[in-house]
Amino acid sequence: MKLEAIGLKKYFPVTSGFSVRGTRGWVKALDGVSVQVAEGETLGIVGESGSGKTTLAKLFLLLERPTAGSLLFDGKAVADFGRDDFVRYRRAVQAVFQDPYSSLNPRMRVGQIVAEPLPRDSGMSRPMVAQRVAEVLQLVGLPRESPALYPHEFSGGQRQRIAIARALVTYPKFIILDEPVSALDVSIRAQILNLLKHLQEKLGLAYVIISHDLAAARYLATRLAVMYAGKLVETGECDAVYAEPLHPYTEALLSAALPLHPSARRQRIVLAGEVPNPVSPPSGCRFHPRCPRVLPQCSSQEPEWRAVRPDRFTACHLY
């Protein structure tokens, strides 16, 4: 099974005031992104706010329709899906969100929350549902009496476990993790990251982890995709990208991440300026106004997306 995005674009209209018709322009949140995740793999998507990583997650979860491009599941385009395909897709692709304080309904018991993704017409009887809920709760390491309790009776780390259990209940193949540990306390992060890794090995899951935390992404990811202003700037095998970033943005992003020891204070590449306005992104390469290694053609010509090494793709005029 494979989840594949081909040339995905998502533009949001910018309207002035209350009028829907007065579209002044488009926010190019995602502008031609192609990535794929195979079974058992972990794709890490990193980038800063405004890079389009969350929009990409929403497209994967069918929460937004792409403006252009297509999403393929098992070789079949989502645009051609029939009702059964949607049911199958939603069962196979689940999600865990950032903040377990807002992603769990405070008025529902944990048992109901975890059982909710199961389709009404799944043909499972109540005891079967209860059994499945107990199974996944055990998988994530929550106590047996949990189904009868409410989310407020759990700590942040345990709530994230509930969210993971809810994602697992439909026997998914893919889980989209949108900043899964960013809202948690540091001492709890390791517990959740280890749990995610353990579940992946045990259940053969594929993850798409979306994160601005480069260390967490590195811990889980096997492949890495770096995004900037709605476009991919680099993809490759995770360790290779960390060891030798090709695109100047990747290099700057990795060098801005702070290592965990004072003696590792190294020469940081401090980027000037900020992530560009997505309504009118810079011409040519979108990174050129901030790029420390800018070339004359960067402001006029958009660099081509191509393989510059085996299994290393980037869009940069340097190569």
Binding site: A257, L258, L260
Partner: protein
């Protein structure tokens, strides 16, 4: 060790919250000193008392539930806890300034940036007219805010996150305070913007000789800019020392566990070491060491008595029964 008199001395500070559930000991006996120009990082998880310690220093603990119940806070030899509220107003913003986590909420959305910077400078420096304007522009220029003359007329929503944090730092540093308290200043910022901001903070700090108390939960930031570190757990400092001492020779099991459980961008770890359990409930603290239930090196004595603070090396202290010499001191 420096011999000069410290800028700030905090002795046995205690801030408790009186709630229906009982007394929450948010800060329970915190002591440290800070010299001019030095950066002290307060690290710990949420609920460890870092932010309440900072609020206590400027006497902004939410009353009536919260009260400073003991200790002394000496800034340049004067006890802030003995001052009247009118006197405190002259300390805040002038001698001690604060930068908070989210500049979107700490700036007033209905006033222009210029008005907000001007207010502080006018109040504390008594300037008016052209000198006031010059001072305001200088404050913005120091934090490298481009085109300050036009930016003065803008509102906070017209700034990006990184620029907004620079504006609130410009306000904080406009009256050249002796002490800057930065409470998670970069948590709301992106990594490349965080790098910009930290560089700038370090530079401005060095030129103005300000002492900084940096509250954070990110050991990466600590490693990058702090001179000394104090690790907090359940309202107390459990370990304090120079940044190198704490990173190279972490002496409290909690510090050791924290440093081991974090994924590092520099290396790939096969398995992260977990800290089991949850942070304690501050209203129902155990009799002994509050970390004992989660501690891998727990001994019988840990459940009975809170461990004494023992020197590990010069300028490096830890509160743990497992540190050599702890039992002799008890």
């Amino acid at each position: 060790m420096r011999e000069s008199t410290p800028l700030l001395v905090v002795e046995d500070l205690k801030t408790h919250f009186f709630t229906r559930r009982g007394v929450t000991k948010a800060v329970d006996g915190v002591s440290f000193t800070l010299h001019a120009g030095e950066t002290l990082a307060l690290v710990g998880e949420s609920g460890s008392g870092k932010s309440v310690t900072c609020l206590s220093l400027v006497r902004l603990v939410p009353e009536p539930a919260g009260r400073i119940v003991g200790g002394r806070v000496l800034l340049e030899g004067e006890d802030l806890l003995q001052k009247s509220s009118a006197e405190m107003r002259r300390v805040r913003g002038k001698k001690i300034a604060m930068v908070l986590q989210d500049p979107l909420t700490s700036l007033n959305p209905a006033l222009t940036i210029g008005t907000q910077v001007r207010e502080v400078v006018r109040l504390h420096q008594g300037l008016r007219g052209p000198p006031l304007r010059e001072r305001v522009l200088e404050a913005l220029r120091r934090l490298r805010i481009p085109a300050p003359e036009t930016r003065l007329r803008h509102y906070s929503h017209q700034f990006s996150g990184g620029m907004r944090q620079r504006v609130s730092s410009a306000i904080a540093l406009s009256c050249t305070p002796r002490l800057l308290i930065a409470d998670e200043p970069t948590t709301a910022l992106d990594v490349t913007i965080q790098a910009q901001y930290l560089e700038l903070l370090k530079e401005v700090q060095a030129s103005a000789g300000v002492a900084v108390i940096l509250v954070t939960h990110d050991f990466g930031i600590v490693a990058a800019i702090a001179d000394r570190v104090a690790v907090m757990y359940a309202g107390r400092i459990v370990e304090m020392g120079s940044t190198l001492q704490v990173f190279d020779n972490p002496s409290h099991p909690y510090t050791r566990a924290l440093l081991r459980c974090l994924p590092d961008v520099g290396l790939k770890r096969e398995q992260l070491v977990e800290i089991g359990g949850q942070p304690p409930d501050l209203a129902r603290l155990p009799q002994g060491c509050p970390f004992a239930p989660r501690c891998p090196e727990r001994q019988p004595i840990c459940d009975e008595t809170y461990p004494p603070t023992v020197p590990v090396a010069s300028g490096h202290i830890a509160s743990c029964w497992a540190v050599p010499g702890a039992k002799a001191r008890a």
